[in-house]
Symmetry: C2
Subunit: 138 residues, 2 copies
């Protein structure tokens, strides 16, 4: 996701308003690698801006997502996790604490699949499940 400053410019240039609520979310998401849920962002945002509405958090996240500034990851059937990292990458999920880690995977082009030749793939994603370092240690 771009920086709060760049997002501010983009919003204004598209006739969208830059509100304090949006600015707060821009800053909470910037460089955030935690893949937070809407509820988690709402909780953090509420500390800095009591009274902000959960509805507004959902609204802003969905705006950023449809603008292509924010990614979304869904793991199992849990709540949506938002991902400011929109570069090409994959994920490793700790089944114990639920943490999600960004990973890069090389060699995917060389994978051999029996996928039907009539199927036209447009993207692929890989998710590893397992236990993270801190959970293994504990």
């Amino acid at each position: 996701m771009r920086s709060p400053q760049e997002l501010t410019e983009r919003f204004r240039s598209e006739g969208l308003k830059v509100t304090p609520q949006r600015q707060l979310l821009f800053s909470l998401l910037h460089n955030n690698t935690e893949h937070p849920t809407a509820e988690a962002l709402y909780s953090t945002a509420s500390e800095q801006m009591p009274g902000i509405s959960l509805r507004t958090v959902y609204q802003t996240l969905s705006d950023l997502t449809s603008m292509g500034e924010l990614g979304q990851v869904s793991i199992d059937n849990g709540p949506a996790r938002f991902d400011p990292n929109i570069t090409d990458h994959h994920h490793a999920v700790c089944d114990i604490c639920g943490a999600i880690f960004d990973i890069h995977v090389d060699g995917t082009a060389k994978l051999a699949t029996d996928i039907d030749s009539g199927f036209t793939p447009s993207s692929m994603s890989i998710v590893y499940h397992g236990s993270c370092a801190s959970c293994v240690a504990a």
Copy 2:
């Protein structure tokens, strides 16, 4: 998933009862490659057994899942899809019609990842998104 006959034996041998509702679901799932949702199974089941409860469908699916006889696939944030194919395989999803296809992928062991050395992976899954043959044709 094992055959209705084998499941019947397993259920009885574990002190579980073999009811008409369970038998019907065993047969609806056997060799089913559609990755159906609970609602879809309920709908089909209702034709053959009017009055069967959606709650019972959920209950039986979750029993089979925790017995390891049935798999579960989650795609984006849609409803859970159930998968009688519990062999090692991956999926291709048509973004137009929503169909899910089983695929096999070779070479996954050779993938190079920057996954943290402290992370202990126990499984990985690959999902391709794209357009299926019938949707491309249409």
